[in-house]
Symmetry: C2
Subunit: 196 residues, 2 copies
């Protein structure tokens, strides 16, 4: 609401930043590049965002918000099986929905580091919450490793350039399948052999 010209420049700036970040990495993208791409000066960029970290945070914000929601929704479930199922499906959906952003996150700690120092005390809380739900209360080392591999594997695969040519639907199906297998949840599709 109140989408004035200020908001417009801000939005264009964020779109441009995401594109440049994807191409050159966060730390490989200078404020000068962003300014040039927008046709303004560095100081103009500095007017909208006080620091470069603020830009990276704003770029990541949609993904972070969805993740926040997901954790809250999952934690609200009563049965642990439901929590795990909801978290897995929600996480895969999120990874698909924000593929470009996830690719950045997975390959660029410039983003992560920038986020860590703001938000609700950083990104770490989310990871902790996700892992906590997936690995259950009082988890064994096996459960912790399992949850970790599941989450990081899904995120990395989702953001991987190697799999970029897979369509959203197909990638979503496969990631869900792998996740279910790792977490010991029943699958809903035919048991396609995975090592042909």
């Amino acid at each position: 609401m109140t989408a004035g010209p200020a908001e417009d420049t801000r939005t264009r700036l964020l779109q441009t930043a995401l594109r440049l970040f994807t191409e050159h990495g966060v730390e490989g993208t200078s404020l000068q590049m962003i300014a040039d791409a927008l046709g303004v000066t560095k100081a103009a960029v500095y007017y909208h965002f006080k620091t470069k970290a603020e830009i990276t945070e704003a770029v990541a914000e949609p993904g972070v918000r969805d993740l926040d929601e997901l954790v809250l929704r999952a934690a609200a479930q009563k049965r642990r099986g439901t929590q795990v199922d909801l978290l897995l499906e929600g996480f895969v959906d999120l990874v698909i929905r924000h593929r470009a952003l996830v690719a950045l996150f997975s390959s660029d700690p410039g983003l992560v580091r920038a986020i860590e120092k703001s938000a609700h005390g950083g990104m770490e809380g989310f990871g902790q919450a996700l892992l906590g739900i997936l690995s259950g209360p009082d988890p064994t080392p096996a459960a912790r490793v399992n949850a970790m591999v599941t989450l990081t594997g899904i995120a990395m695969a989702g953001g991987s350039p190697d799999l970029a040519r897979l369509g959203d639907e197909e990638l979503r199906t496969e990631l869900l399948d792998v996740g279910r297998r790792l977490l010991g949840r029943p699958r809903r599709r035919g048991l396609a052999s995975v090592t042909p």
Copy 2:
């Protein structure tokens, strides 16, 4: 051999660099920091390494060498099952052996980016080779996603600060277990329930 004083300074420099990289990330570590930690000037550092990228490469070199050997050894096997088993076990071993380095790799594209531009044409070849062996010839999308999740999941979990307190032996066992389950290879230990 010929461990002259030059080698000594070089070695100290690399140890210091790895420590600082781990603490502040590659791009978060300036040559000034390294020089200060060694008690010399920036230019002195430049005597031993022509660029900062050369330092990151030298820091990563032991891990890259092991990975190179592993790929060659796996590719030399005749039966595909043997290839997969050898690659999985070797990869887990490598991740354990170079935990600190893997943590850096997993969380810092500064390293990856630095390596990409040197070595035998970059890091990408390795990933491609690993994925190729794990996903088999003419792989389905399911097999590709599966291999991707396996490799990235193991690497990320191995380098994760969250699991840093797990001992090498235990982490090794669990990572192998997860990998075997994902790749459909027989396990050698009791089927501990993973979701307690």
